[in-house]
């Protein structure tokens, strides 16, 4: 990839370390938590990482207002309380928040559409950081632009805080279909493909050759049940982020344990039936087709 800032065709050490941590998180569940108690419940249930944020997306949606990076003390407390990686969100384009999160020593930064964007045109130059970034994407072009900016992990965007998996599915299919299409093109067609995708040519060539993204691809947004986790993983996601889906469910600990099992045994319907039998009600959802387009979080990102 000609995207590592030094013109070399292969990932540099910095990117290898960043995507290396993303590799370690595969086959797992990253859970949104808003305090130390929830972080401990998530770790105990088998989360591979926690995302520290002040309000889960469904509360952000309900309360409205400007949503920003979490308070540093809350992030520090969670980092001290658990042994697994801790992620935190900054606003799209808000590189100062990202600098602060890096100085706190978080393990991953999520440049997230769930928070209110700070820049309506530009994302963060993620090559400028040592901490790895994860970014959302709704299609292949958006994913490759974020990778071009230095993201070490992509999470396909569902509609956060909705409990409705439909958009996670739509966007995951958009990305995997887009990859398959690229692999069918002749070499002399790839530059126009890059132009149409709005994505860096070198990364387009690499994806066409390898038939996969150059960084891990996880799924996020609207995943509320073990069956949802299985669905997105069978469609090609390598791990799942569960936001409101855990701590807005009837019994968060058992719900969390069940989704952890589902992420691993996503191809085993007998085990999925077992774990689905052991949980209470999932989070109350919002049918996303009933939302006004101005209420959608997923359309943030350029």
């Amino acid at each position: 990839m000609n995207t590592n800032g030094n013109g070399s065709p292969e990932p540099n050490d910095g990117l290898r370390l960043k995507t290396g941590l993303a590799e370690m998180l595969k086959g797992g569940v990253i859970m949104d938590v808003t305090n130390v108690e929830q972080a401990k419940i998530a770790e105990e249930a088998g989360a591979v990482a926690v995302m520290a944020l002040e309000r889960v997306p469904s509360d952000i949606r309900r309360d409205g207002g400007v949503s920003r990076m979490s308070h540093p003390n809350m992030i520090r407390e969670i980092m001290a309380a658990v042994s697994i990686p801790v992620m935190a969100k900054c606003r799209i384009g808000h590189f100062a928040e990202a600098q602060i999160l890096q100085s706190l020593g978080v393990d991953f930064v999520d440049e997230s559409e769930v928070l209110t964007p700070a820049d309506n045109r530009f994302h963060i130059d993620k090559w400028a950081f040592d901490v790895p970034f994860v970014c959302g994407a709704r299609n292949l072009g958006e994913a490759l632009r974020r990778i071009g900016e230095g993201a070490a992990m992509i999470r396909t965007k569902g509609e956060a805080g909705s409990g409705d998996v439909v958009h996670a599915v739509e966007h995951l299919r958009a990305i995997t279909t887009g990859i398959r299409e690229l692999t069918q093109l002749r070499d002399d067609e790839l530059m126009t493909a890059a132009k149409d995708l709005g994505a860096p040519y070198e990364i387009v060539r690499k994806v066409a050759r390898d038939a996969r993204l150059p960084v891990p691809n996880f799924s996020a947004g609207g995943i509320a049940t073990p069956a949802d986790a299985s669905l997105v993983m069978q469609l090609g996601a390598e791990s799942v982020f569960v936001g409101s889906g855990i701590f807005k469910s009837e019994d968060p600990a058992s719900h969390a344990r069940a989704i952890v099992q589902a992420a691993t045994h996503h191809l085993d319907p007998v085990k999925l039936a077992d774990v689905s039998s052991e949980i209470g009600a999932a989070m109350p959802g919002i049918e996303t087709s009933k939302l006004d387009s101005s209420e959608l979080l997923q359309t943030r990102g350029w």
């Binding site: 941590l21 370690m24 086959g27 797992g28 591979v48 990686p85 393990d107 991953f108 691993t264």
Partner: protein, 216 residues
């Protein structure tokens, strides 16, 4: 007994060049291990059920989160017995990072483990992600063709002590990073993510020689 096949191969069973090696795929970078094994010419299998261990010649326990993998063992306690039996059968077991933690005799801060490799490890002993690094380590018995090795440390565990019968195959500064107790190998780092597969290849070559073939 510590055998030193690394530099003095003795009369031993013909190395198994294409044995089938499983990768524990409960959670972690099992895909990177499967890719490394494929590049080395081995068939590899993703192992998600303990009954799958029966037909394997070797097993890799990948990096990931040890706390998560332990929850899977809790859910299906048969894993503990089957994995311990597998390790005692003499077949290759190779744990990297979280895999090393799961094999270790003792873990700091305390958490359960299989206890088949007599080392004490400290989780996240090299720090958080911002302390992760790629550096050069050394073989304990260096060869001119192989003076040093690439060490990819990601939120890595540190080996704080080893029993006398545990052989240190490689070290970083003065600390062990790759150890061996007969057929059981553990690395604090990620040979599956290295630019070259020299470490991975060496471990497989050493471990697969030990596959019991005494009937022959």
């Amino acid at each position: 007994m510590v055998t030193r096949l690394m530099t003095t191969p003795r009369a031993s069973p013909t190395p198994v060049s294409n044995g089938s090696i499983g990768v524990l795929a409960l959670q972690g970078d099992f895909a990177a291990h499967a890719e490394a094994l494929r590049r080395l010419g081995h068939q590899s299998f993703e192992v998600r059920d303990p009954t799958q261990l029966r037909d394997l010649d070797g097993l890799v326990i990948p990096g990931g989160e040890s706390t998560t993998i332990l929850r899977h063992f809790d859910r299906q306690p048969e894993w503990l017995r089957r994995l311990t039996d597998f390790a005692r059968s003499g077949r290759l077991v190779f744990g990297t990072c979280a895999g090393l933690i799961l094999l270790a005799r003792s873990v700091q801060p305390h958490q359960p483990s299989l206890g088949v490799l007599d080392v004490t490890v400290e989780r996240n002993g090299y720090g958080r992600q911002l302390d992760s690094s790629i550096c050069r380590g050394s073989w304990t018995q260096a060869e001119p063709s192989n003076p040093d090795i690439e060490i990819v440390l990601i939120r890595a565990p540190r080996i704080v002590s080893t029993a006398a019968h545990v052989e240190v195959l490689a070290h970083l500064d003065d600390e062990p990073v790759l150890v061996r107790q007969n057929n059981i190998f553990g690395a604090t780092f990620h040979p599956e993510l290295a630019a070259g597969l020299d470490v991975y290849e060496r471990v497989i070559a050493l471990g697969m020689r030990l596959v019991p073939q005494t009937e022959a």
